[in-house]
Symmetry: none
Subunit: 283 residues, 2 copies
């Protein structure tokens, strides 16, 4: 029902920008209290997004019912509908993303083009999230540890293997030699002894976490090796056996995740380590 009304109704702002524009134009002919709402809304969009009518109304110096009328004046059914726009803005899902995504979804998900479109949009969002959520301190400590290490050992299986093999290649090209630990049968654990205390171990692992990787890291960590890990959640078992943890939330489509964001971070790490090594080797 609401759906139909939405469709019929000539114009409900669908993103924050157009909502702002509408408020701005309509406010010229608004009575006192509604204008008060308008001012408050534009000045405190976060509060509108998260508060209840009672809270917001009292903060804005109006009645809850006035807030509802304000929303209705703008074309919404009620306050709640308007609030969603403010929430969308807060999350940063600038409506372009979600809009394009739903458009993609509507056009059937089975053509190669639509699958690609889906991944592209999600990856872009994922990249935004990366920059927002990245623990700068952990990142810097990771670079330090890798730069200071005598030898860098790389470990990652399954989906994480492309990540470490890429690091192996890229760091190598920058003159940083690394030891890529390949998994050839059950002999992985034996190699822990070849990692010494001045080395660093870079581990990548994603859900479902390979037990042998965690086990390996755990042993190395126990021996005092600097373990820097790249994983998808703080719940990852690797977190408990790492000196620093970097977290990446990768875009997914159904059950399948890309490596797009992870690769972006990995490349950055490689370049940063390469830079750092260059500086120290020059001095």
């Amino acid at each position: 029902m609401t759906q139909n009304l939405d469709a019929i109704s000539p114009d409900i702002p669908s993103d924050y920008e157009s909502l702002k524009a509408r408020i701005s134009t309509l406010s010229e002919s608004m009575p006192k209290r509604l204008l008060q709402c308008a001012r408050y809304a534009l000045a405190n969009p976060d509060r509108i997004a998260l508060g209840t009518t009672a809270e917001i109304a009292s903060a804005a110096g109006v009645q809850p019912s006035t807030l509802v009328r304000f929303a209705q004046t703008l074309g919404f059914d009620g306050f709640s509908q308007m609030q969603q726009i403010f929430q969308g803005q807060l999350v940063g899902r600038s409506s372009e993303y979600t809009e394009r995504l739903t458009k993609i979804r509507e056009s059937g998900t089975n053509t190669p083009g639509s699958i690609l479109g889906n991944f592209v949009e999600r990856s872009k969002q994922s990249l935004d999230d990366l920059l927002r959520q990245v623990d700068t301190v952990a990142l810097e400590r990771t670079i330090e540890a890798l730069s200071a290490a005598e030898n860098i050992h790389l470990l990652g299986l399954r989906r994480a293997y492309p990540v470490v093999s890429y690091l192996h290649y890229t760091l190598g090209k920058m003159g940083v030699r690394t030891n890529l630990l390949e998994y050839t049968g059950g002999i992985l654990e034996e190699r822990v002894q070849f990692i010494n205390e001045n080395d660093a171990l870079f581990v990548a692992t994603f859900s479902p976490y390979s037990p042998e990787v965690v086990e390996f890291a755990s042993k190395a960590f126990g021996r005092g090796v600097a373990v820097v890990s790249l994983t998808d959640s703080v719940l990852s078992p690797i977190a408990r056996v790492s000196s620093t943890v970097l977290e990446v939330n990768e875009a997914e489509h159904g059950a399948f995740r890309s490596l797009s964001t992870t690769m972006c971070l990995a490349t950055s790490i490689a370049v940063a380590v390469g830079d750092a090594r260059k500086w120290t080797s020059l001095s």
Copy 2:
């Protein structure tokens, strides 16, 4: 009243970081459903911040009551109290984001954060370019060729190796077996004979193009094998010996390129091929 309880209660996480830490430690001894909540919460903090118990619960695959219990397990009175932490994170983040970005841009290019920021931006641009410039016809023909192939052979060296090893893994997980051609000395060319005419060869190669890869593809192509290639320019030598060519312009920073966009495309290809194979095997 609540205030007093808060004060008495030994430990209620007061910010997102400590909440994450607490979830992380407590999750070790959590029963199944609560762990499910933990995972979902850490993976979708925005939804926790904005949604209602009913919405979140259904998205996480649990009951609303479980969500409340989850919050109580962490020390909160109930869900609402926990939600405030997530909301706080949301607000802080969005206000810091732009600030952070400009800070990253202004600071020299040598801090890990600025390098990452740089790559994130370029990768997003690169993804946009991908969607805009992708040859839909070539993409569809690529999927068709890979779906129709009896066996799929994958080849890529150096920077392209992570791409094909990822495809190997992902396609494998979708039930599509592939043959990853590893480069172990000079014997690569001999293997051309094991590729037959009903097979497809997927080749990834980027500048500077490995002669042995091009040579290999050329021989396979000459034998009538469907060669689908992923490269960085239509001028790539691989283009002349391929049935279809996909082009990717990857983000770069100085001399170093990410694999972000390439991985996005690769994932899409894998999912599309997996889909296509499923349909045909069902019919």
